[in-house]
């Protein structure tokens, strides 16, 4: 008798609480604010221009450059082998397979870093993996690789080595027979991430 009484009260109370709770949907893939903050603080989502330049020179298939600027800008100038996904259509059906995939590392870039950072945050929050940004964007690319700054005479040896390397890179990207933006390099088909689906169940 006692248990029935207590149980009834408890269940009705819990039921009332449940009834006023808002219905929420949890997605196991998406990150919440704290998780996103942690990822930002780790800072390992930035690719330096030197690293990217090296990768391009060595024809490293690991990276896929993604140009977030409008098509006209892309056609005027873009980094070799990059794919043009204008920022506004980032999450359109055509492009989602390219940003939500597991095969290669996407490197977002734009003129500065604003667009790239925004794209990174949005895709990160959705739980997409393998997205990075190019440090400083095209502006930094020009300032570092295409027009490398000669180090002051008081700078250390390392600065000079870096300068020499960058001179070489500049030659690679702008010299005669340089790899141009309209390179014939095919953009590889994306390998989509396995979607989480409902578990099989029931008496079957």
């Amino acid at each position: 008798m006692r248990i029935r009484f207590v149980l009834s009260i408890v269940l009705v109370c819990l039921g009332l609480v449940a009834a006023i709770l808002p219905q929420t949907k949890n997605s196991s893939m998406e990150l919440d604010a704290q998780q996103l903050l942690n990822e930002i603080q780790l800072e390992n989502y930035v690719i330096s221009v030197d690293e990217m330049a090296n990768a391009l020179i060595n024809n490293d298939p690991e990276y896929q450059l993604i140009d977030l600027r409008p098509e006209a800008d892309f056609k005027a100038y873009s980094l070799p082998g990059s794919l043009n996904i204008p920022f506004d259509s980032l999450f359109s059906e055509t492009w989602v397979p390219y940003i939500d995939q597991i095969a290669r590392k996407n490197v977002f870039y734009s003129n500065g870093t604003t667009l790239a950072s925004e794209a990174w945050m949005l895709t990160k929050q959705k739980g997409y993996k393998n997205n990075y940004i190019l440090n400083g964007g095209l502006n930094n690319w020009f300032a570092t690789i295409i027009e490398p700054k000669e180090p002051a005479s008081t700078d250390g040896e390392e600065a000079f080595f870096q300068y020499e390397a960058r001179l070489g890179m500049k030659q690679f990207f702008t010299g005669a027979g340089a790899v141009s933006s309209s390179s014939s390099k095919q953009v590889k088909k994306p390998v989509p991430r396995k979607k989480k689906k409902m578990v099989a169940g029931g008496c079957s």
Partner: protein, 200 residues
């Protein structure tokens, strides 16, 4: 976040081990409740023993509230949890046939296994009969195939189909269950059968 095994892509071997452990708990709880006795189970339908009602609804409501609260606390991704696929005709007709089997045989598959485990011979025959019934279904499947696949409405939730939130439905189910507990208790006193209760 749960469910753990699908989301963390844990091996199938561990999944099977967990299945066994869950079954262990399941069987233990069933037998402790007295579901290893066909006469106790049948008592539900004659009023002298409403244990089935109490156990069934308490269990379903406990799990239901658990899921609701876990969902609210972000502890589980309900889009991955299995929601039964609804085929209207076969659900109803299958249910009717099972209901007949229940009142004739005095068991359902889960309780029959539990009862057989403690030595109940009628349960063992029930299991044998079940296997025959399943075999029969498979052998004559072409006759039932159309019915079996008719009116496929997908993984529909009751709350969606009657247009209330999950929480409100939960409250309604709890309210119904509480009423049934009290009414049932009165019925049990009215239809009391000491002779049977002393035997089972």
């Amino acid at each position: 976040m749960g469910p753990i095994i699908p989301l963390f892509e844990i091996s199938e071997e561990i999944n099977l081990l967990i299945a066994f452990l869950i079954g262990l708990g399941f069987g233990f709880a069933l037998e402790q409740a007295g579901f290893s006795s066909s006469r106790k189970l049948a008592g539900m339908f004659y009023g002298y023993d409403i244990t089935v009602l109490k156990v069934f609804f308490t269990a379903a409501i406990t799990a239901m509230l658990g899921l609701l609260f876990m969902n609210y606390l972000g502890m589980i991704d309900m889009s991955i949890v299995y929601v039964n696929d609804y085929f209207m005709s076969s659900a109803i007709i299958g249910g009717i046939i099972m209901g007949a089997g229940f009142i004739i045989g005095g068991f359902c598959p889960g309780t029959s296994v539990c009862a057989a485990a403690i030595g109940k011979i009628d349960a063992m025959y029930f299991i044998g009969g079940s296997l025959i019934g399943i075999l029969l279904f498979g052998q004559t499947y072409p006759l039932w195939e159309k019915l079996h696949n008719a009116q496929h409405l997908g993984s529909l939730k009751l709350s969606d189909s009657i247009g209330v939130s999950d929480g409100i439905l939960g409250l309604l189910v709890i309210a119904a269950a509480v009423v049934m507990f009290w009414v049932g208790e009165m019925a049990e006193r009215r239809f009391k059968r000491e002779d049977i209760n002393n035997e089972i």
